[in-house]
Symmetry: C2
Subunit: 330 residues, 2 copies
């Protein structure tokens, strides 16, 4: 900037004014400054600017996802990015891998870069460590899973309602013995879905049978093995409800291997790419990651714009997509 000022024979401040598009610079000087910027390939140093400016905004937000490469998380990421670019805001993204410690380290690293806001898909179960950032004015929104021990905005899928709806769908197709395969019970959403399953059965006046329930299945392999077990017992279920997309894949794989994929109904929570090309197509209760991400970013920026209303939890509805596997009769 000093070089530009010298080249244009003006003061630093005038260059600053031109670069920031402030009014009150004569067109003649402005032209000279712009020409000098061009000639010297001047790049505005946004970080130095942030340091000095009164609003202190870095025009950067941090996003902590479970894994940037998993389809759900990356759809969130993209939706957040789309809202952010419209405001000229960049996105720092990181993966927590379901590890509390990594989540925390990421947040601290973001904080030391002075991000304006944080969107977190949390893995941890105590978010008091975020109080400091909050006090420093960092906006904070939780996605997919609720905050714990801290009041903050959240954007969540209505997991329980979605699963209840799934149970109802299977019952409507004649099923009474409905198995459930769920993810690690410490994950909040997994708990909600399990609860939805139990409530759904209760609504339909069906007694839950412990032998049809398998929890803490993380990953395709475990789900596949559990499905196998479930179906090999005497008096097996006629339908399966799976609480997460990898579990759905594992269950489908098991059904295929056992030659039961056209006989046992399967209804999965969370959509799967290509589910429509399988035989049968897989019926799912689809979440709307893009909708969640967009809303989370909207809430975040509303806070950054000065919204001081009490923290609120927003719910995004699910959508049932019938493709065949969920409509197989008992």
């Amino acid at each position: 900037m000093r070089d530009v000022a010298a080249q244009a024979r003006v003061s630093l401040k005038t260059v600053s004014r031109v670069v920031n598009g402030e009014s009150g610079v004569s067109p003649r000087l402005a032209r000279r400054v712009l020409a000098a910027c061009e000639r010297l390939d001047y790049r505005h140093n946004h970080t130095a600017s942030t340091l000095r400016r009164s609003n202190r905004r870095s025009a950067t937000i941090g996003v902590v996802l479970e894994d940037v490469s998993n389809p759900f998380s990356s759809a969130l990421h993209r939706a957040i990015e789309d809202v952010a670019v419209q405001r000229g805001v960049l996105v720092l993204a990181g993966s927590s891998d379901e590890d509390e410690d990594r989540e925390r380290r990421l947040v601290l690293a973001f904080a030391s870069r002075r991000v304006d806001g944080l969107i977190i898909q949390p893995s941890s179960h105590d978010h008091r460590y975020l109080l400091t950032e909050r006090k420093a004015g960092t906006a904070l929104v939780f996605v997919d899973r609720p905050p714990a021990s801290i009041e903050a905005d959240a954007v969540l899928t209505d997991n329980a309602a979605g699963v209840r709806r799934g149970v109802q769908h299977l019952v409507a197709h004649g099923h009474r013995r409905i198995g459930y395969l769920g993810d690690t019970h410490t994950i909040a959403t997994a708990g909600d879905r399990h609860r939805g399953y139990l409530d759904g059965l209760a609504n339909q006046r069906i007694e839950a049978d412990e032998r049809l329930i398998r929890l803490d299945l993380h990953g395709i392999e475990k789900a596949e093995a559990a499905t196998r077990e479930l179906l090999e017992q005497s008096n097996p279920p006629s339908a399966l409800l799976t609480g997460q997309n990898l579990i759905t894949i594992g269950a489908f794989r098991a059904l295929r291997r056992m030659g039961l994929h056209q006989r046992i109904a399967l209804l999965g929570f969370d959509d799967i790419l290509l589910a429509d090309l399988l035989e049968p197509g897989i019926t799912v209760i689809a979440q709307d990651p893009a909708g969640i991400g967009r809303m989370a970013a909207d809430v975040l920026f509303r806070r950054l714009d000065g919204d001081r209303s009490p923290a609120q939890s927003h719910t995004v509805p699910t959508r049932m997509i019938a493709r065949g596997s969920g409509e197989i009769p008992p």
Copy 2:
């Protein structure tokens, strides 16, 4: 920091030393400083530190992807992140959507945040605009597609070789009439794959037949329509080679709709999630996005560590995964 210094009754510089783990501070003072940090919830301001430090490193890199939510790009992203976190480096990511202008705007936004390096999956065909950043010392690595009009490191899939191998595979299974469905010809990788197809045929002494080739198919729908056309003509191909994963999906969908999925061989470039669960499983020439990302990050950090050797283009091999569709006889 000033508050911490006051609280610990030391100078600013001493706090700085403790925070940065520099030697030469008596344990007694260090303890006092750390206690004060703790008590005041002090967060080191990494951006101010970058501004002043002699190496000027922001410990942040920028990654421009085609779309952070597409499986290939997000796998790249994750692999890059994994290398970066090991060095305490954060990743700014953005989507160019195959748009030259968005790519450029992202790069400039990253540059004004003074990222240490850039990893770009380019959409544009002239990268001279990056010369300024390069001159400023920003490390630069291209992934998936080669740089144009600039010398820079690149990490690429060996597209042509992969496709040649695919042709050979189909011929080995008895095919002579092999159709080709390719993506937009202006995308460098699409051109390479098309060339690989033609070379592969030539190697096998098969004359290319224009009527079996369809290019510029971007997205599932166009691919599906083109596949249909290709198969409805007289003397149709007995095998299809598809040059991109969405095209493979479109082609498979068309085959399914026409009831030909067990009759016409299909070999796709780029792997597809769940391809093994379809019937038949889809044979693919798989790329290794994680391998590409890791290598790109390695090259980038080697440059940041001072490697001044001439720019180099690295090639990551493909892997053929036979799952059934590519082994259907004519």
